[in-house]
Symmetry: C2
Subunit: 248 residues, 2 copies
Amino acid sequence: MTIATGQTHLPSCTDCPIRHRAVCARCEPDELQTLDAIKYYRSFEAGQTIIWSGDKMDFVGSVVSGIATLTQTMEDGRTQMVGLLLPSDFVGRPGRDGAPYDVVATTDIMMCCFRKKPFEQLMMTTPHIAHRLLEMTLDELDAAREWMLVLGRKTAREKIASLLSIVARRDASLDARRPGGPMIFDLPLTREAMADYLGLTLETVSRQMSALKRDGVIRLEGKRHVTVPDMGRLMEEAGDDSDGGCLA
Amino acid sequence: MTIATGQTHLPSCTDCPIRHRAVCARCEPDELQTLDAIKYYRSFEAGQTIIWSGDKMDFVGSVVSGIATLTQTMEDGRTQMVGLLLPSDFVGRPGRDGAPYDVVATTDIMMCCFRKKPFEQLMMTTPHIAHRLLEMTLDELDAAREWMLVLGRKTAREKIASLLSIVARRDASLDARRPGGPMIFDLPLTREAMADYLGLTLETVSRQMSALKRDGVIRLEGKRHVTVPDMGRLMEEAGDDSDGGCLA
DNA sequence: CGGCTCACTTGATCTACGTCAAGGATGGAT
DNA sequence: ATCCATCCTTGACGTAGATCAAGTGAGCCG
């Protein structure tokens, strides 16, 4: 699905395709109307930077379709991805002006945006929207901290396995996924993006992907299409006996 | 200051020593009274675990004095610190039951706690408390993401310098700190704790501390008392031209 | 005072991952 | 069809930081 950049017409909040996780998940009909009034859709092409680090952000919103990343960059060019935005994930910092990192579309992407000022006012008068935001922020915080363990203490192989199991779990939508059955999905990231996520180089990512394939932990068709015959095995490889955090 | 474990009497919220950053920073007198009603103080000894990962948490609260850490541990014992709690920092997850990581007192510590259930009810009816919590959570999220860059992409020397500049900045209270003047503070962490924070081994931490000392970036009296003659220099070493994130 | 522990330092070696370099596969433009 | 640009793989080699192993020095308790 490729969409031209710019504003388009899409269903209103009352039948928003991502209501199950988004801000408006628990809104009453009249609150949805209010949200509709300040809402607009916006699409970006793969590779486009949606928000530059330091920019003033005048909206908040959710990803409807496509994938984006949050990245931080040092002056010498070293970059670290600090978040992955999949459909239904929220972007934005009510009450804050600047963005602390770049938001980049890695595929063509559709965002459902709310103008920030009116959204903040709505938040003031609608307690459960504020609570929903707090919940989502706590989820992201948990995910970020889980990822700190990955970055600080896991080996390259464990890092790759961790990333694969996160993507596999988030990509639940796809496929007959009987519990225990194989998980099949498309990696939404290049090897370089994976490396930036995991604090590795793209060569190391490539080598470890080959190793996991050689050892039968995953199967690869092409470079991006992944089959995980045994999720339990993959999670062992990730060093995760817990169900593993899901980086928001 | 050493305090026996258990409940003690301390000033009420109306003159809480940490109001400047804590939940109640913006409360009206009547709201403070309500907070007082569900509040209690609790102290822990150095080394005590305040909350075990997976435990049910029945309170939220702030650190009044002393230092605690948030750590995650893998089954094989590898551990990663995911947060540092200094005085006025908040602990707790309104709306959540379990703790996702251990909270450990690294010094004797005094906490100002609110019983969770009534606190959550208060939050429902007091919008600006909910907003304050959202703000604090966003701060922690920013700090966690800043730290992801440290863990994923910085060298051992840069990591140490990053940690030192965070502690220096948070320990602002101490000393004549004319801007540009030397910063003097006590490290609240053992070399091992620093290592767990930075994703290094204690030997590497020790070596890099010695190197920074040898190169005149810091001065050490004993093992813990640090003088930073030039904060700008330290921040350069951290690879931070920005003012550097402050890990909450 | 000696002996103990705990936190730290320093050295010698090992290794996982980074770096540099040379291809291969795919897909889109001409 | 051929050219080119991306994205990916694989090999050879170098190095930052881990690991293993001795110490040192400060507090503490008899």
